[in-house]
Symmetry: C2
Subunit: 279 residues, 2 copies
């Protein structure tokens, strides 16, 4: 079968690599607005052919969207307009707005919405790596809105990725990802800005950067093209968690300012409960 | 020579392991207020003998302090009272208060102050690991206040750790560590609290936790016994960076709330400059 991957970057590329490595019987058609990305994807060999979007849709049994969420939202209706029995999979990091946007589309059933909780702080075809999804979580969203046969085709592809699959509705998805993914990016971006600002007056600051610092700030390397649309589409949830987070930081601030050892101790010990969740 | 390590946890234990592995010709005496820690350190074999503090000081050529910074501050004067030509090394994460506290001590010259920019989110003898310091930065602080022969002895030990050494004064040290270490712990603690709070109402939240989330929150496993004294001793610097960080988060908040794509883009692209520093 022909699979068209729209967006040959980190997610699309890593997906293609997994299908190739598993020997999944498919020809991979790459679509990317960047000619350079397409060329790189061909060179790296994870796509078999580059095509313009319209031609790719006409030639593919399955169309997989792995582009930023604003592009998914604007492309989806016109892609669904062009499909008949084909299957469309979208892998965006937000769900409510995207699915709301096509909820009344006559071809809504051909769409299978999912979100792989996998990624790195890098982007583009060079960021594509084998086994990106292995052992990670793949969330299917509003799966009952997909036609059964479309879902089965999507599943046969997702199986190749060796991810753990779970099901959620779009609303639940967007709330949860705000807490366990989107906020982490904002704190990293803000931490990088904080320290870069200080570096201007204290040049040697980064000589000391420890692995702890690196760990909390590495997501600040992430791309604006991907993240600005996520912040726009998941605005309400993100604002809620961001306000809560600023409140928690303010608690620390006040306890440190007041020399309040007992409150500092309590806050840290409470936060240590994260041990239960992380390995 | 006999080396007494006061505090047989992550830092003291890892140091002892490195000396053993390098075949450094020393008997390692462990001192720890926890009998259980001493027993564990003996079992793991990185100390040769446990001793009470006073006896250890009398029997050691070198005394190394690897306990929380409040304990270092309270022990240092009484340890210096008891030394003659011995060498005292302290490895605390803050410097100004500790060194101010002993600046007029007649034995100040026997003290070599340093801070290894190495660690993990774990503590106690079980957290001690080989090569913890390898390739990391060891900061010597106010090194000119140490007697030359004392510094040379300390250096001969530090050399075994294969760290990169740099020199700073105490003030500069405390400013810089607030930015590239202490703040990272506060953001992690606060992020853990934010998400744990939400989990109460949204039980499934951690099913989705991605590696990005884990990366930004793993320091929240760190111990209150170590961090509360650091927050107290480096209060002014930490408050300054924390206030700046909250301000940066507020910028993101306002840009997201106002749907201000251009500002979001600018903030993220500016923060991406951290790529220059991180590998």
């Amino acid at each position: 079968m022909n699979i068209a991957i729209i967006g040959t970057g980190l997610i699309g590329g890593s997906l293609a690599i997994s299908l190739k490595e598993k020997g999944f019987p498919a020809k991979i058609i790459g679509v990317d607005k960047s000619e350079q990305h397409l060329k790189k994807a061909l060179e790296k060999g994870f796509i078999d052919q580059g095509m313009p979007l319209k031609e790719a849709i006409a030639n593919a049994r399955v169309i997989i969207l792995t582009v930023p969420v604003d592009v998914i939202q604007s492309l989806l209706p016109q892609i669904l307009d062009q499909v008949d029995t084909q299957v469309v999979m979208e892998m965006g990091s937000t769900k409510e707005h995207i699915l709301e946007h096509v909820k009344d589309h006559p071809k809504r059933g051909r769409l299978v919405a999912m979100h792989p909780m996998a990624g790195t702080e890098y982007s583009g075809p060079d960021a594509a790596i084998p086994n990106l999804f292995k052992g990670k979580v793949m969330i299917y969203c509003d799966a009952t809105d997909s036609d059964e046969d479309a879902f089965e085709v999507a599943e046969s592809i997702v199986e190749q990725l060796e991810a753990r699959t779970i099901f959620m509705n779009a609303k639940e998805h967007d709330t949860h990802t705000a807490y366990v993914s989107h906020i982490s990016h904002i704190t990293s971006f803000a931490l990088a800005l904080t320290v870069l600002e200080k570096e201007k007056s204290q040049g040697r600051i980064f000589e000391l950067a420890s692995s702890g610092f690196e760990s909390t700030v590495r997501l600040a390397k992430s791309s604006a093209d991907m993240w600005v649309p996520i912040f726009r589409q998941n605005k309400e949830n993100i604002l809620e968690v961001l306000e809560e987070h600023i409140k928690q930081l303010q608690h620390f601030h006040d306890a440190i300012e007041g020399g309040d050892t007992s409150t500092m101790n309590k806050l840290i010990k409470k936060s240590n409960k994260i041990r239960r969740i992380l390995k």
